[in-house]
Structure formats: structure tokens, C-alpha cells
Symmetry: C2
Subunit: 459 residues, 2 copies
């Protein structure tokens, strides 16, 4: 009886211990740490993240919630709908216009522990870091390490500045490279087809110090340029066509801003580390986190660096520390996984390009940009481009409005005139979700199969 009581007692002890440990909020991990303040938020975040959305959507912590039960609502991929995104919308359009880099989302879904971020309420409340700058030194170190790992940019003995995406950084560079006191504004140019924003942004912010002057090609043989201040945007790899552009204009009064957003193994062979005076990168096209708005410039000249920093102060009193913290966590994860993200990104983009190229090869109506293989120092092999965008050309004489040709086939690309180019071209985004890409290929196949004399896979 005594023993029975004793064993009952021990059973209760076991139960009690179990219950205590199951039901209390605190926890020991590896005997080392008792989680306290983060538990509630962790449970909430994991619960939301685990919302079932059929693989065609996801639920966000700050996403919409259902009226009534307050449960998170799935944010569905294009062409999918329903409470769990399982319902396919037939005949929906293939929307291939934006450069939303969601092709990297699956990578992060596979690397949850290394990329998770926990932030205490009092984290970094001040405007500046301890060194009175707007730039996190620890993030800066990681940026340099990532460039060293990939070998895509020289960062030694260079300044690094952050901004709200490459968008804010590019404009800061234009301001910083414009003459301070002049009666004649700097002429800002870029070679067609150029990144839309170069024109839009420069025109919008144009002052007496700089103005947009269009295609760099038209300035190449002008004799009056030697006395003018010129700023050339070189997007390399180029947006929209993925080519490894080089500067067209040179001279003592020519400054060049290299937009290196796409200079990662995801999209291009890396022939050599870039080593230009002003090089602009963005988290968006490296890890896929466009929404974080974190871009950076690698800068040789201290005066340019200081002027860009002053720009950041006057434009937004620095750079969001939350964006910098997120980038810090993500780049740490990138480095922790060796070359995994680059392999994932390259394989994904290569596979999409193989599919797209095969699809377009069936057509005599459409063609894609050139794709000359080059040696890639990162992969130690010759490889093709795998650009973020297809720069589709309508080859038929009558198809002068290529956008309209695609639109009639339920494909929404981006008009070539946005890139200073003729309407015979359309940009097709290849960096969105797998669902987006699949639907794009499906719609292209439908369109091409209707061509007179279209080839078939059996040809």
C-alpha cells in the first residue's frame, strides 16, 4: 500500500513535471536558456506562418485577418483564390510585369531557423548607431563578406552606404555626383534600353544641378560634351535585357553610376569583381527581400560618400534600423549556408530560362535577347546569362505594339517605351513565384501554338 502510494506519488510527480513544463510559458533550451519575453511573439509568429495555404500562398503576421474569428487570411499567388488558395482561376492573366523577386521565397521557407529574427521592443530606438552614423557596422561587415564570397565586387578600402533600396541610393548618387555650384546642370544619361526609374526619378527630382537627357548613345559623338558635366547610369546586368553593359561615355567630366543590382550568380556569369567608382546593390535581388528596402553603394571617393550620407539625412534622416537588422539576419543566414542561396537562385533561374527559351524557340513570331556564354569565376565554368527578365521581341513587321500582342493573349508584360525602347519589345518578369512563371509559360505556349507554322516539340 505504501509502495503503491509511493508509485502514485511518483506518477503524479512525473505528471506534474510534465504539466509544469508543458504549460508554463518559460523554457530551458539545452539547459542554457529560459525563454521568457519572446515566447508569446514566437508562438504567434509560428502559428500565423503555419497557416495552410495549399502551397499557393502564405499568411503574414501583419496580413489581413478574417472578420469574426480574427484568423490570418492566406495571401494567395496570382491565379489562385479561396480560403486556402487551392482554387485555380481559369483563364486568368499571366501578370509578368513587376520584378517582385519571389522566386527566392522557397529558399527561405527551407531555411527557417537560420533566417528567423527576434526583436526586443527596445531594440535600437535611436536615430544613429553607437558611432553616430546611420550605417550598421555589423551589417557593413556582412555585406563585405558576401561580396568577398561571391567575388562580384571589390570592397576593400571602399566606403559603404545604405539606403531605402537601390532606388534611394541611385538618386543619392546623382545628387552627390552633380556639381555643387554651377550654372549648367549635369546631364544624366543612360543607354537604351535603360532602367525605367533612371529617367522617371531623375526627371522628378531634377534641379538646377542635374537633369535627364535620355539615351547615352546620342551623346557619344557630341563634340560639346567635354565642357559639360555628364552622369551616366550603367545598369549591368541591364534591366530590362540582362546584358553586361559597360559605360559608353568617358572623360574628365563624366561620372558613372554602376547599378549592379543584378550582378549576382543568380542572373549572370561573374567574369570579374566589379571595381567601379560608385556601385549600387540591393538586398532585393540578392535575397529576394524587396519589401525590406535595403540597398547599398560601394564608393571609392570619400567626398562622394559624405555627400551621399548627407543626402540620406535630408531625405529620410538615415535608414531604417529595422530594415538593416533584417538584412543583417538574412545575410548572416546567406553566409552560414555557404553557396546554397546562389546555387538555389541560379538553378531556379537557369531552369526557368531553359523552359522559356524552349517555348520561344517553337515560335517564329517572337525572339529573346542574345545570350552569349561567358566564363564565371564564381562557378569556375563557362555559363550563359539567366537574366531576371525576358526581353521579348515581336519579329513580325505588323507587330509594332508587342505589348498589345501579348495582352490579347492574356499576358501582361511591361511596355518597352518605359525603357526608352521601341514598342516591338516587351519585358517579361521571370523572378516572380513559380505559379506566376508556370502560368506565363502556359499562356505563351497557347499563343505560340496558334501561330501559322508554329513548331512543335516533335519538330
Amino acid at each position: 500500500m505504501k509502495n503503491m502510494l509511493r508509485s502514485k506519488h511518483l506518477t503524479c510527480l512525473a505528471c506534474s513535471l510534465t504539466l509544469n513544463l508543458l504549460f508554463i510559458i518559460n523554457m530551458y533550451v539545452g539547459g542554457e536558456w529560459r525563454l521568457s519575453w519572446s515566447t508569446r511573439a514566437a508562438v504567434e509568429a509560428e502559428t500565423v506562418a503555419a497557416t495552410y495555404c495549399s502551397g499557393h500562398g502564405r499568411a503574414y503576421l501583419d496580413g489581413l485577418v478574417a472578420v469574426g474569428n480574427n484568423k490570418p487570411v492566406c495571401s494567395c499567388n496570382a491565379c489562385f483564390t479561396g480560403p486556402d488558395c487551392s482554387h485555380f482561376i481559369p483563364h486568368c492573366a499571366a501578370v509578368a510585369d513587376s520584378g517582385n523577386p519571389l522566386f527566392l521565397e522557397p529558399f527561405w521557407m527551407q531555411h527557417l531557423a537560420s533566417s528567423a529574427l527576434v526583436v526586443v521592443g527596445w531594440h535600437q530606438m535611436g536615430y544613429t548607431y553607437e558611432d553616430s552614423t546611420y550605417v550598421s557596422k555589423e551589417l557593413e561587415k556582412l555585406v563585405r563578406r558576401v561580396h568577398a564570397t561571391v567575388g562580384n565586387a571589390v570592397t576593400g578600402n571602399r566606403f559603404i552606404i545604405f539606403g531605402a533600396g537601390s532606388t534611394q541610393v541611385l538618386n543619392a548618387a546623382v545628387f552627390a555626383l552633380s556639381p555643387e555650384n554651377t550654372s549648367s546642370p549635369a546631364r544624366v544619361v543612360s543607354s537604351v534600353p535603360y532602367y525605367t526609374l533612371n529617367k522617371e526619378q531623375t526627371e522628378y527630382f531634377s534641379t538646377e544641378k542635374f537633369e535627364f537627357e535620355g539615351d547615352a548613345h546620342t551623346w557619344r559623338n557630341r563634340s560639346d560634351t567635354s565642357s559639360m558635366n555628364v552622369i551616366e547610369f550603367v545598369t549591368s546586368p541591364n534591366n530590362p535585357d540582362g546584358q553586361l553593359n559597360k559605360a559608353i561615355l568617358h572623360g574628365p567630366n563624366v561620372k558613372t553610376i554602376y547599378d549592379r543590382a543584378y550582378y549576382w550568380p543568380h542572373f549572370t556569369p561573374i567574369p570579374a569583381p566589379a571595381d567601379e567608382d560608385v556601385m549600387v546593390f540591393t538586398l532585393s535581388k540578392l535575397t529576394g527581400h524587396a519589401g525590406t528596402r535595403l540597398g547599398w553603394a560601394v564608393i571609392k571617393d570619400e567626398t562622394v560618400f559624405k555627400r551621399m550620407m548627407a543626402h540620406m539625412r535630408l531625405n529620410s534622416m538615415g535608414i531604417s534600423k529595422d530594415a538593416q537588422l533584417r538584412a543583417f539576419r538574412l545575410l548572416k543566414a546567406v553566409l552560414e549556408e555557404g553557396t546554397e542561396i546562389f546555387d538555389f537562385a541560379y538553378q531556379t533561374m537557369k531552369s526557368r530560362w531553359d523552359t522559356l527559351a524552349r517555348t520561344i524557340s517553337m515560335s517564329s513570331r517572337f525572339s529573346l535577347q542574345e545570350n552569349n556564354p561567358q566564363y564565371c569565376t564564381f562557378y569556375s565554368k563557362i555559363r550563359q546569362l539567366s537574366p531576371a527578365y525576358g526581353w521579348l521581341k515581336c519579329e513580325r513587321e505588323e507587330d509594332k505594339d508587342c505589348y498589345a500582342v501579348l495582352e490579347a493573349a492574356n499576358i501582361i508584360g511591361r511596355r518597352a517605351n518605359q525603357y526608352g525602347a521601341e514598342g516591338r519589345y516587351v519585358r517579361l518578369s521571370l523572378v516572380k513565384t513559380e505559379d506566376d512563371f508556370d502560368i506565363l509559360i502556359q499562356r505563351l505556349n497557347e499563343l505560340i501554338s496558334k501561330e501559322d507554322g508554329a513548331k512543335t516539340f516533335e519538330d
Copy 2:
């Protein structure tokens, strides 16, 4: 023997259960959830946050780490140093220049669970939210609820736009309120003493559409203004002097941007909800998170709203989703705690003002700004201002450079010429840490005690 074995077995079971639950990384909370991907990050964040810094500093997740052991380094308050910030630096300067709102840090240190944020690696990677805008609808709802709770702004039937701090929002408003096609730029004015950035930013970004024209007072009686486009900045409560300013200029071509950054019970009585056409707020002066860079405008006119949104696209391709997520979590915590943050902030500022006023009252050399009590609808009582800054005046004829007078006494304020005002004034920040404030008062007491005929507390 059998029973002994049995009880041993049960003891082991208890131990095993305990150990399993102690040492495995996963966890059930309330029998409902097993933490998985967030645990590692949570342990790391809690470990860093628990770093001992003597109450005179704190360690950050993305802060500096010690060479060698990689341990987080304490980021110490001004005048404190050493590995745990316990060493006071004698004779150090009282640096009272910046508006770093760290007076709210202790509030968040006391509300850890409600303000903690856990972010999954794939959180909100795209440029826009589900509705294709840059503005989180859930954050917008919280902003409206906070205004409703405080009664400091009418938000019903108004548009809300976010930006990288009030800094970016204010400039967006200038662009949006300037005439689109005109040969004569909008004249941007503000009444002296005005917020430094109004001048600096407007001058820096000035285009053919707008330019800065200085003090609004000088424009009041000009007869030629009726044909001009004028934009008046009204900072209310004012930075630097905390007064509840009203617009000076009126007319069909006058637009007003109300900077309401400080219109919270922390700093001022709330006589009535503000209801101006364009009102700008910022998280910085509400929760103290300046580093997050999250400001907003409440806007009546849809065209102005759309133009400001276009500005955000061209300036930074939207607003950091990480900044918006952080604000979302913090405002949720604010609402959850009822009026607690306002009570904490008001009590802290009031107590600092009582101390400062008492200190300055001992002096015949210095004076502070007017502080006429008003009825506060939030506290349902008449109360004084408790502004973010002391606007100190040097009363002696010879003290024309008040900044230099203070600097000689080891007090670093902010020069009045930055506010368009005469050198007889200095702005002293009262919103920094408790240590900063204590040292400021100590240095002021030292200075005042040396005055000929200085009063003493015994007077």
C-alpha cells in the same frame, strides 16, 4: 524489490520527461504550440538582451561584438564606459543636442512580452502588400485607433500614407502641394523659430516647383502674395519651443503642412483633435522608435494623397515593410496597455520639466519658454506643456552667443541659428536617456551656482 524497481522506473520516467522537456528545443505552450524555427533566434535575442550593462547601457542583436569571444558589447549611455557601462566619466559634457527619444526606452524594457517581434525569413518579400499598395492596411487601422484613443487627430474619411520617418513624409507633402506646371515656384515658409529640417530639406530638394523663402511672419503683410503659391510649414507643438503654433498665412493659394510630430500627451495638452488638410506624425515621438523611420500623414484630399504616394515610389519604391511591421507590433502593444505609455511619457516629461524649471528658476541669467496651461481633453484637466526641448534664452546683454556660454560650461545644446532665430537662444533636448538628463541638470546647476547673486534652493 519489484515495487522498488517500479518506483525507480517511475523516477526515471520523471527524470526522463524532465530532461526531454528541458533539453529539447521544441516546446508546447499551453498544450497548443510546439516552437520550432523561432527558438534559435529567440534564445539568441534573449541572451543578447540580457547582457548586463549596469542600467547605463544595453546590448543589441546587431551591435558590436567583442573580438575573441564574440560576446555582445554594451552600448553605453553618454558619460558611462567600461565593459558593463558602470564607469562614470567625470567632467564629461552634457550633450543635449539631438532629439533621440530614448526617454521611452524604460517603458519598452518594462513591456517586453507585448512588444517582442518574431519575423519569419520569408515575411513580406514583395514590394507591395496584397492590395498592390506600399501601405500596410493593418498598420493603418492601428494608427487610426491610436489617434482615436488619444483624440489628437481626426482620421475618419481621411487618407493615410507612410514614409521613412516624418522626414520623408514632410518633403513628399511639399512636392505634392507644389503646382505641377508653373513658371513661378511655390514659396515655402515657416515661422521663426522653425524646425531646422524645413529649411535644410526644402533648400536641398528645391526645384523649379518650390523654394524655401524663410520666415512666414515676413510674408504676412505682403500684398503680392495673393497671386503666389505659398506652402507654410506649421510645427505644432513647435520644434524647438513646444508652442501650439497655428498657421500664419491664409488664402486661396496658401497650403499648410501641419507637422504634428509632438502632438501627443507626452509633450502637450491636447485641446482638441487636429483636423488639418495635411497632418504629419511619426513613430519616433510617439513610441520613441526614431531608428525605425516610420512617419505618416493624415490627408484630406485624394489628389494630394496620390501625389505623395507617387513621391514614395520615385524616392524609395515604397516604405520598408520591416519598419511597418515593427510599428505594427509596437502600436498593438500601445493599444493593449490602455493609456500606460501616455502616462509614462507624460509623467517622465513632466518630472523632467519640473526639475529643469526649478533649476532655471535659480538663475537670473537664463530663462525658459512660456508655458501657459491649457485644458487637455485626454487627461480631462488643465495642464502645462512638457515640451521635448527647452528653448533656453540667455538674458544678459553680453550673452549674444548663448550656445558658446553653455559650451564653456560643458553643455552642448543646439544653436538657435539652425531654427532661424537669434543666437541668444539654445535648444536643449529633454527626451534623451535619464542619464543624459541627469548630467544636463548637473552641468546647469554647476553653471548657475557660479552666477553672481544666483539663488539657492534655500532662497
